[in-house]
């Protein structure tokens, strides 16, 4: 401790900028980790709070996934002796159309019984003393005081909403006091009569859920068991809190990608620290020698450097925690936005939930990374020989022996990797191969960057005889300094290239898929966007559409999220034979395209998306099993298709099968093909005219749908841009760090240069050239490793994350972009060190030894 204060602190203070930059990777990694997880948890927390507030004294909830279930189920549940009270619920978010208000959560209940479970804390006189009055007026709405105030609404105010029967005006007949139930969904909550809601949302005679409380003397578990036995596997019976779990598995997808980003940043942070510490050890050899001569043991020296690592880790992690909490809010908005668009589960999360456990964990990871990074430098510090250290000269060269060992090890690892590739087969073998090739590239980097610097010297010298040669020499003479920065650059670029490669390849595959299957001329949807599924069309609209002049074919599609082997996947029911007829360039991953659609259309099988097949190891003939309100549906897989409808997987079944098991003939979207002569614009007008004031519907052109999907894809891959930004940042930090050290090491050299006549501009040039050369070497090696990394990442994503199979395609455009971006970053990074070099005192520099 005393050493830390007397020896380390003055050094850190003297090299303040470098010390701060050193921890930047840790700051970034911890911040991303904390930020993204806090955002996820905030969204999840908000969801759970809403569930909780809405639950009231509900002890158990009965649901049948997204599809809802028939009214008669309620009677059966109510008749169960263990149940004290059971009430029906429909719950759905709708867009308010009010500026800046986003979604409004509609909680539709049966007022006659519901107050036995939920406490509606009405303001003033109890407006619905007589629930029958409320019932008798299906346009009644109760909103929270908060929502009313925000939008200037009062009792008897009218609120317009688009319902499945066209636009309707609702009257506010009650206000709930803020707090409790009224604070659910960020206060954007409205209560409606459940039978009115069936109309509004087009639910037919169905409920979403039953909320219930158990009789006295019966445990919740007993009641649950009894209900599960009564209702069968198609129903989920559980406490309200369990609703979070499905939401959680969706949010998890974000966690994985954010965890990757922060691991990436920490990994780079590790290199930056390793780099700085190795340099510090060389620079402080003399000091270490003196300490050793004065009786400090090797262990003491090692601990000194490890403590410095810990100190850097603590500082960086604390800064990271603070930054993470700061960015969490913005990120949580991003996550909620994506959730609404993709999964139609909306949640307003204005406050963020800070989890002390998460912070502690992030802190520990940050500190551990830093200590780990300082391990090797600490060891080499402990090995410093006091006698040698006190003699003059600097130890910067890599010993030939060390280099030979490195290279041999690298070659061996490459061989292992090649063996793993040819062996193929199991996942462990694959990962061993991946690991080998990464470690091999790390081992090769010092030699490669040295060779490249040597190769660059003539070119740089040709550009500027003195400045160029000195820039190259600076790199050649400090291989440790150079290779550590090159390594950090290489690794981050390799990741960026892999991410971009994934994005580009997925993008291309998605476009191909869109072109092949999304070819109807018009789509008729209940919403402006594709994701939201609060509203459903009654089946009859299909016939009404068919009757419109110019329309040739109408295909109804129903999509809902169901649980398959524990994960929420997408179930699509449609007229599969009809769809197959219209597909352009039909292509199947397994099975015959027409045949599978024929079989599935006859109810003899299911078609599954390739990602589902990958993730759950399904093949032709495997049996898929889905619990439905009408019993367990078991179908053999008759075909596998490349399909990007859902990240977690999609199963296609025929409308007839869906109707039979779910007893649901509602439709989410109609695919409309026009007669040859008809114009899409005109028919769109006719549809809107036909249903104006009568139905809620949105007619979308083919291009609108495609644009929408592409936009979603873009949003999804926004993460890629974050990673690119991180890489650029790393590049800047790494280069600033190297250059700061480099001009420190070369003070005398720069002094000599200025003494014999180098103008300020010439001094700057040599430093800029050094930066550009490092960036160039990093770029070349990064692209090489990136090409390899992409191969492995594609495989990992395919088999272990989302099952999406995309072809290998090197992201040439992105890579081309990286060249100017990285070189410009390097140049930016060199500006400050360049200035520092020309500002420093010449006399001191010349006396410097």
């Amino acid at each position: 401790m005393i050493l830390l204060r007397l020896i380390s602190w003055p050094y850190a203070r003297k090299h303040l900028l470098r010390s701060i930059l050193t921890t930047a990777g840790i700051v970034l990694g911890v911040a991303l980790f904390v930020g993204m997880h806090t955002a996820n948890r905030s969204v999840l927390g908000a969801f759970n709070r809403t569930v909780d507030r809405i639950a009231g004294s509900t002890e158990l909830q009965v649901s049948a996934g997204e599809s809802g279930f028939d009214e008669e189920i309620l009677e059966r549940v109510q008749a169960q002796p263990e149940v004290r009270i059971a009430v029906p619920v429909i719950e759905a978010p709708v867009e308010t159309g009010l500026k800046g208000q986003g979604n409004l959560l509609i909680l539709a209940v049966d007022m006659t019984g519901d107050r036995g479970l939920r406490n509606y804390d009405f303001e003033g006189d109890d407006v619905i003393d007589d629930p029958l009055v409320f019932l008798a007026q299906p346009d009644s709405l109760i909103v929270s005081r908060e929502f009313a105030d925000r939008n200037g609404l009062r009792l008897q105010s009218k609120l317009s909403m688009s319902t499945m029967n066209g636009p309707r005006r609702f009257t506010i007949r009650g206000l709930m006091k803020t707090g409790g139930l009224a604070s659910a969904f960020g206060g954007n909550l409205a209560i409606m009569d459940i039978y009115a809601a069936q109309q509004v949302f087009g639910r037919g005679r169905k409920f979403d859920r039953i909320d219930l409380a158990v009789k006295e003397g019966v445990t919740v578990e007993q009641c649950r068991a009894a209900l599960e036995k009564l209702l069968g596997p198609g129903f989920e019976v559980g406490p309200p809190g369990s609703r979070g779990s499905q939401f959680e598995s969706i949010v998890k997808v974000f966690s994985i990608s954010s965890a990757m980003s922060s691991a990436f940043a920490l990994f780079i942070g590790l290199f930056i620290i390793y780099n700085s510490f190795s340099i510090a050890v060389t620079e402080r050899r003399k000091e270490i020698g003196i300490l050793r001569a004065l009786g400090a043991t090797r262990g003491r020296i090692r601990n000194l450097f490890l403590s410095e690592g810990a100190a850097a880790g603590i500082f960086g992690s604390l800064a990271g925690l603070a930054a993470g909490v700061l960015i969490a809010k913005g990120l949580s908005r991003y996550v909620s936005g994506l959730l609404v668009d993709i999964y139609s589960v909306g949640e307003r999360s204005d406050e963020i939930t800070i989890d002390p456990g998460l912070l502690a964990w992030a802190f520990a990871i940050g500190v551990a990374t830093s200590v780990l990074a300082s391990f090797l430098p600490a060891r080499s510090a402990a090995r410093v020989d006091p006698v040698q250290a006190l003699q003059k000269g600097r130890l910067q060269v890599l010993s030939a022996g060390e280099n030979r060992i490195r290279r041999w090890l690298a070659v061996t690892l490459v061989a292992i990797c090649a063996a793993c590739l040819t062996l193929g087969g199991s996942r462990p073998v694959f990962y061993v191969g991946f690991f080998s090739v990464i470690v091999a590239s790390l081992l090769f980097t010092p030699s490669l960057s040295l060779w490249m610097a040597r190769a660059l010297r003539p070119a740089l010298q040709w550009m500027r005889p003195i400045e160029g040669a000195l820039a190259a020499d600076s790199l050649i003479q400090a291989p440790r300094r150079t290779s550590a920065t090159v390594t950090a650059l290489m690794m981050s670029l390799a990741m960026v290239i892999a991410f971009n490669g994934l994005a580009v390849a997925s993008y291309d595959s998605i476009v191909e898929w869109l072109d092949s299957t999304f070819n109807p001329d018009l789509f008729v949807n209940t919403n402006r966007t594709l994701g939201a599924r609060s509203f459903h069309f009654p089946a009859v609209i299909g016939e009404q559409l068919s009757a419109i002049d110019g329309i040739q074919t109408v295909q109804g599609v129903r999509t809902l999220r169901v649980t398959f082997r524990g994960t929420p996947i997408l179930l699509v029911s449609a007229d599969l034979r009809g769809i197959a007829r219209h597909t352009v360039n039909p292509r199947a991953v397994a099975g015959d395209y027409r045949e599978m659609h024929r079989l599935a259309g006859e109810g003899k099988g299911a078609v599954v998306a390739e990602n589902l097949a990958m993730l759950h190891k399904l093949g032709l003939g495997s049996e898929v099993e889905i619990a439905s309100p009408g019993g367990v549906l078991r179908l053999p897989v008759v075909g596998v298709l490349r399909d990007f409808s859902d990240q977690l997987g999609t199963i296609f079944i025929d409308t007839s099968v869906y109707l039979k098991y779910w007893n649901d003939d509602t439709v989410d979207i109609f695919r409309v093909y026009l007669k040859k002569s008809a114009s899409a614009e005109i028919v769109k007008g006719r549809i809107q005219e036909r249903f104006a004031g009568e139905r809620r519907l949105f007619v979308l052109m083919n291009t609108e749908i495609k644009d929408y999907v592409i936009r979603l894809t873009d949003q999804w891959f926004a993460m890629t841009h974050v990673q690119t930004a991180v890489a650029v940042l790393v590049a800047i930090l790494g280069i600033v760090n190297t250059l700061t050290v480099s001009i420190g090491d070369r003070r005398r050299e720069i002094g000599v240069l200025r003494a014999v006549g180098a103008l300020n501009a010439q001094v700057r040039h040599t430093i800029w050239m050094e930066a550009l050369a490092v960036a160039f070497i990093g770029l070349v090696l990064g692209m090489l490793l990136g090409a390899v990394n992409l191969y492995y990442q594609l495989d990992i994503v395919q088999r272990d994350i989302s099952g999406l199979v995309v072809a290998y395609r090197f992201p040439f455009m992105a890579s081309l972009w990286l060249v100017p971006v990285m070189l410009a970053s390097a140049f930016l990074a060199a500006l400050w060190p360049g200035e520092a070099a020309v500002r420093s005192s010449l006399v001191e520099a010349l006396e410097y030894e």
Binding site: P465, I466, A469, L470, D473, S474, I476, Q477, R748, E749, G751, V752, L753, R754, A755, V756, G757, A758, L759, N760, A761, Q762, V838, S841, L842, V843, L846, E849
Partner: protein
């Protein structure tokens, strides 16, 4: 060339004209390294500066060479007031008119002899071929024609100092400043280097200022200035 150098300065007939120059170093405690020193050195003179360690010799030399600027007072080199010059103009003045020889040679370890000598020429933007010719010519002049491709590490101390001298002379600088040029050499090699400097004085007519500890070196110069506690305490001319 000699002709160009003989051209008198605009305002002063002295090549080096120092008037009331002081230099303070700001640190935890302010150190006065030079205390209102006034000094004139004529063209073609050969001056030694002596004095105990810390008396301000190097500081004085650095100010003359434009490596540093005075805290107060005025310095004119060849008639030009350096206070009025920008950093880059000062650098140009130094490059074209002043050659430096340091105690620790200050060669760049990564460059070989000819590259080290070429350094100022390249910095001035001479064409490559001319640079090489000139550098080789100078290395031959200091008798290192056989060592052009060697790195400084591969040379003896005396050879390194000769490379440094060659570098100092590439532009035929009228002023040659040497800070303890023999301080890091054994006496025989030191004498050899001193001989070389005398040759330069004689043959090229350069104005030379040598900071030294060595009484023999001082004695070999025409004029000797002694510093003590930041002040000039004696200024003698030998015949």
């Amino acid at each position: 060339m000699k002709c160009a150098r003989a051209k008198p300065g605009l305002l002063s007939s002295y090549l080096i004209d120092i008037a009331g120059v002081s230099k303070q170093f700001q640190g935890k405690r302010t150190v006065t390294a030079l205390d209102s020193v006034t000094l004139r050195i004529e063209r073609g003179d050969m001056v030694s500066i002596v004095g105990p360690s810390g008396s301000g010799k190097s500081t004085l030399l650095n100010l003359i060479g434009g490596l540093d600027r005075p805290s107060s007072g005025e310095i004119r080199i060849d008639g030009q007031a350096i206070a009025a010059l920008s950093d880059d103009d000062l650098t140009r003045l130094r490059r074209d008119k002043i050659g430096f020889i340091f105690q620790f040679f200050n060669l760049l370890p990564s460059l070989n002899c000819i590259e080290n000598v070429s350094l100022p020429l390249h910095l001035k933007g001479w064409p490559r071929k001319k640079v090489r010719e000139r550098a080789r010519q100078l290395l031959e002049m200091v008798q290192l024609g056989h060592r052009v491709d060697h790195l400084p590490d591969e040379l003896s101390g005396g050879e390194r100092q000769r490379v440094a001298i060659a570098r100092a002379l590439v532009f035929d600088a009228p002023i040659l400043l040497a800070d303890e040029p023999t301080g890091n050499l054994d006496s025989a090699t030191g004498a050899e280097i001193l001989g070389l400097i005398h040759d330069l004085h004689r043959n090229l007519g350069a104005t030379i200022v040598i900071v030294t500890h060595d009484a023999d070196v001082a004695r070999s110069c025409i004029r000797t200035i002694a510093l003590r506690d930041a002040k000039v305490v004696s200024d003698e001319r030998r015949l």
